[in-house]
Amino acid sequence: GLALQPEPEPPCRVPPGWTPAGRVDPGHEVQLTFALRQRGAGRLSQLVRAVSDPRSPRYGKYLSLEQVRDLVQPSPATLTAVLKWLQGYGVEKCSSVTTLDFLECLVPASTAEQLLPGAEFHRYVKGQRSVVRSPLRYAVPEELAEHVDFVGGLHRFPAERKVVSRAWAKKEMESKQHNGARAV
């Protein structure tokens, strides 16, 4: 069937500072994280409201991880469809989480590119760090689109948050401006 894009937007952008270092070898293992479609999001939202509102009789009566799993775990149809799809490409090295709604797999790049039409795995380097990402959009087979929210490990680069370091002198200037009630 047609392949559908779980993440059609935004445009794939390589953040500044990351230098392309060529396509990885077909046998290079990439780690893919499949976010499987959950159940019970509506019920979960009601529960969060009930246990978080001090005026609610259920305030503070939290769930265990196992109770959250019982609420959100993917349907048998989703688990079967995804596992069959992966096994069809010989993907075996996977691990799940307690809530069963994520699957982490180590996959040779060439297999990953067949699994996710359109994806191409390239290495990018920045200083000491290197990542493997796809500059092209990926898609999943139409029959899988209702079972997968997104696939991690293809587009998002590591975070770039930096603390701001300010020279003390500049602070002086700012405090004068503050006193003048002007925004910097």
């Binding site: 990439v30 969060v48 509102d53 001090p54 265990s64 994520f102 493997v132 991690g152 948050r161 020279a167």
Partner: protein, 372 residues
């Protein structure tokens, strides 16, 4: 008088006494940043030796989840750990470290999978991480939002830094500018922390906005009920608002509260460094205080605070105005154009999109969140 923010300056400003330290062995708190940085236990020990003499504290992180290599310590990782252990003093502290990840792993996603795989976790998580909403897919943000709902249902308090770009700025295809909200700060199921500065940088006095404090309105998530009245009051009463074309006034508004984010002292690689600023400083400060309030609640056999926002936004109507210092002076950055001239929103009475409800007045906040 002081020459920059240290734990005792923080504890003085927020009225924390020597007795405001953790007492319960089974309470815990955690911090995470996804810059693949290391922190060093020796830095924490040195920091506490230099700055921790006025309060009972631990000098070591109790647990590291993930890999801690031998590389140089990073400034953010050191900052996170040192300040959550200063306000959440003497509380068991975990660090989620993703240094040395697999090349195609997404550190933030790896942390979410850990939350879904560990039945025993700290009740409070301070997280310094954010991306522009417009750089992420809708499917990804909506799913991550459900992950925060899962955490809230379990009673975990997740605090995110609001970001250091003020309201942010984005040039639209037609050439117009709009503000640029940040995610996960804009998730309705996390508590987002903004930043303030001292009005006089050398004295422990009133706070004004820190002009880098991230804040605004989500373009993805609608405004949750718990904040509708407070935000509408702000939009109705603000003396000066940016043109409405710059932001989505029906979106989830943030931050929810703030703390000092300017001119911190940090010890990293054994060197004390001044002038470190950012909401990645204010977030662990609030995280430690929430953990301390949990400590007092757990001692009374009460549940931990969990998802904080509904309780936070009810404080004022319950007469607990003094639980937070209301910051009403100053603005934050935004687009450098002829229309807004670099200025985003400005602080105002009660809730505002620069400092939220303001900064914690610990004893009054504790009283408000610890029923008699």
């Amino acid at each position: 008088f002081h020459l920059g923010v240290t734990p005792s300056v923080i504890r003085k400003r927020y009225n924390m006494t020597g007795g405001d330290v953790g007492l319960l062995p089974n309470n815990s708190q955690a911090c995470a940043q996804f810059l693949e940085q290391y922190f060093h236990q020796a830095d924490v020990a040195e920091f506490m030796q230099l700055f921790g003499s006025s309060f009972a504290h631990r000098s070591q992180v109790d647990r590291v989840i993930g890999r801690q290599g031998k590389g140089k310590a990073g400034l953010e990782a050191s900052l996170d750990v040192e300040y959550i252990m200063s306000t959440g003093a003497n509380i068991s502290t975990w660090v989620f470290s993703n240094a040395g990840r697999h090349e195609s792993q997404e550190p933030f996603l790896a942390w979410l999978l850990l939350l879904s795989n560990m039945s025993s976790l700290p009740w409070v998580h301070s997280v310094s991480y954010g991306d522009d909403e417009d750089s992420l897919s809708l499917a990804y943000m909506e799913r991550v939002n459900v992950e925060f709902m899962k955490a809230a249902a379990r009673g975990l308090t997740i605090l995110f830094a609001s970001g250091d770009d003020g309201a942010g700025c984005r040039r639209m295809p037609g050439g117009n500018h709009t503000f640029r909200p940040s995610f996960p700060a804009s998730s309705p199921y996390v508590t987002t922390v903004g930043g303030t500065s001292f009005k006089n940088p050398f004295l422990v006095t009133a706070e004004v906005t820190d002009y880098i404090s991230g804040g605004g309105f989500s373009n993805v998530f609608p405004m949750p009920d718990y904040q509708a009245a407070a935000v509408k009051r702000f939009l109705r009463s603000a003396s000066k608002l940016p043109p409405s074309s710059y932001y989505n006034s029906s979106g989830r508004a943030y931050p929810d509260l703030s703390a000092l984010s300017d001119n911190y002292w940090v010890v990293t690689n054994r060197i004390p460094l001044p002038w470190v600023s950012g909401t990645s400083a204010s977030t662990p400060v609030v995280g430690g205080m929430v953990a301390l309030i949990n400590d007092r609640r757990l001692q009374r056999g009460l549940a931990p605070l969990g998802f904080l926002n509904p309780a936070l936004y009810q404080l004022q109507e319950q007469g607990h105005d003094a639980a937070l210092y209301d910051v009403t002076q100053g603005c934050h950055l935004s687009c450098l154009d002829g229309t807004v001239q670099g200025q985003g929103f400005c602080a105002g009475p009660a809730w505002d999109p620069v400092t939220g409800w303001g900064t914690p007045n610990f004893p009054r906040l504790l009283r408000a969140l610890l029923p008699p």
